[in-house]
């Protein structure tokens, strides 16, 4: 009696057309005379056909998911303008004139506001305050790390900790700049991929971001990432959640966008009402559909429950405008989490969130 594997091999070579005429004849003869064999062939054929159809359908579905996301984005960006223009045509002429003036004014303020804020960015006083804030978070972080480390056997203690997220299948990693600023070697760790060594690729002290890449011989790929970068801006009150490593296990935190601008009106970040603790810097912030929307960067020392996260949009722009990054980093395109429940979504995401350990 042939075992399963040989039988499969035989059937497969028949369907792929790799048999010569004599083999083929024998195969077909056996198919007519041996009913068990014939059934085996039929079920194999059905399996392959279903498999083929399944993968084709999957590809089509993914294409349509992307089309759907594009369509939604177009609608979001045009709907505001469209309603205004429609009202212009429906009312009397005088209202049309008033509406068009209002439109011009509102568009004017909009662009002005967007324009002024980046200028603020370069304001030195503003900078100092922001960095001071980060310093505070960092010193408390150091203190906590020290306390934790005391009383443990001294192997080689990590002098710095934080959280990081994978942004491409081939090993690009994103975290906060201040997490790895003062350290020489950086490792990341989680349950699925254990321990991987990183090297810095690109740093952006202004946005407080750093892009790193895994340089470990044992590392092949993270596999396809299940999330994408959210393309549109978030609205006030939208539900968001974080995953981070304030301790050795991953911790989930949930909240909402409490202000669309960050510390001192910084347009490059969000203010979020999510409980965050030292060690969560650099951790990902997701929306309810599992899109990556930001990187947790710090929290306010005076006000309770307000933390800040750098907007993913700004990061994506940085990547796209830098030629060498743009060609090397293949950002994920399809969000496979969209239809999943929260629990399942977190399960899938935590494989791509890492604890960062820096050593001096």
């Amino acid at each position: 009696m042939e075992n399963n594997k040989e039988l499969l091999e035989l059937i497969e070579s028949y369907f792929s057309g790799a048999m010569d005429a004599a083999e083929k004849k024998e195969f077909e003869h056996r198919r007519v005379s041996d009913i068990v064999f014939a059934n085996e062939v039929a079920s194999f054929e059905k399996l392959l056909r279903s498999f083929d159809r399944h993968s084709k359908r999957k590809t089509l579905k993914n294409r349509l998911e992307v089309a759907h996301a594009e369509m939604k984005e177009d609608v979001d960006s045009t709907s505001l303008r469209a309603t205004k223009i429609r009202s212009m045509f429906s009312g009397p002429k005088i209202w049309a004139a008033a509406a068009s003036i209002a439109l011009v004014i509102s568009m004017g303020t909009y662009t002005l506001m967007n324009y002024v804020s980046p200028l603020n960015h370069k304001d030195k006083a503003y900078y100092r305050e922001l960095s001071l804030d980060i310093e505070k978070v960092k010193s408390s972080q150091k203190k906590i790390m020290k306390e934790i480390n005391q009383g443990k056997p001294a192997v080689k203690q990590a002098s710095f900790g934080g959280t990081a997220i994978a942004i491409s299948a081939d090993g690009y990693i994103l975290t906060s700049y201040h997490v790895v600023k003062d350290v020489e070697s950086v490792y990341i760790e989680n349950k699925k991929f254990s321990r991987l060594k990183l090297k810095k690729i690109y740093t952006d002290p202004v946005l407080d971001l750093v892009i790193m890449k895994v340089e470990d011989d044992s590392f092949k790929t993270f596999g396809p990432l299940p999330f994408t970068f959210r393309k549109t801006d978030l609205d006030l009150g939208e539900k968001v959640f974080t995953l981070g490593y304030p301790k050795q296990d991953v911790v989930f935190g949930e909240g909402y966008i409490s202000s669309v601008n960050g510390y001192e009106g910084d347009t490059a970040s969000y203010q979020i009402a999510v409980p965050v603790n030292p060690g969560q810097s650099g951790g990902p912030l997701f929306d309810a559909q599992g899109n990556l929307i930001g990187i947790v960067s710090g929290k306010h020392t005076e006000y309770e429950g307000s933390a800040f996260a750098v907007k993913a949009n700004y990061l994506k722009k940085t990547i796209l405008s830098n030629d060498s990054l743009n060609t090397n980093i293949k950002l994920p395109k399809v969000n496979y989490l969209r239809n999943q429940g929260k629990i399942q979504m977190i399960k899938n995401l935590q494989d791509y969130v890492f604890e960062v350990k820096g050593y001096n």
Binding site: S50, R53, H54, S55
Partner: protein, 183 residues
Amino acid sequence: MRSNYTDKEIVEGIRNDENGALEFLYKENFHAIAYFIYNNNGNEQDAKDICQEAVILFYEKIKGNALELNCSIKTYLYAVCRRLWLKRLYYKSKFTSKPDNFDELFSAEEEGEAEDKEKDFARMEESMNGLGEPCRTILEDYYVNKLSMTEICEKFGYTNADNAKNQKYKCLIRLKKMFFSVE
């Protein structure tokens, strides 16, 4: 990507695997279909599911040369979606009469066939999810992406092509077991 397609160009585009035709078809028809579904006990997710299902059915029919259209594609898709949705409502028992006599677009045979395909797909989805990695990727790489055994061997770090081949057969046997056991 082009911004406009005629019906004929859509069909040609699908036949020639042109990127964009299918996406155009979806975006162009979604809102009309969504409007119908919102007004009949559905939400956005339902609209998306139904519209994607209909576009994929259309695609498969064009690819298999199994469609003779004597109305516009828009009308056809709308009718398909309507039927799919009414049927789904019937199974959720929100709609009391079986939507048999609504229109004459499909023969009973065709309908049964589409249902079988749908079940087949769900079963394969379940089996593939149960299969896990690396089996899933190995099978997809071999049968769908048509990678050679040597390439797969390198990608997954097997010591030689024979090992990779053995692994592939093990995966296939497992898939087969799962696929035929969930029946």
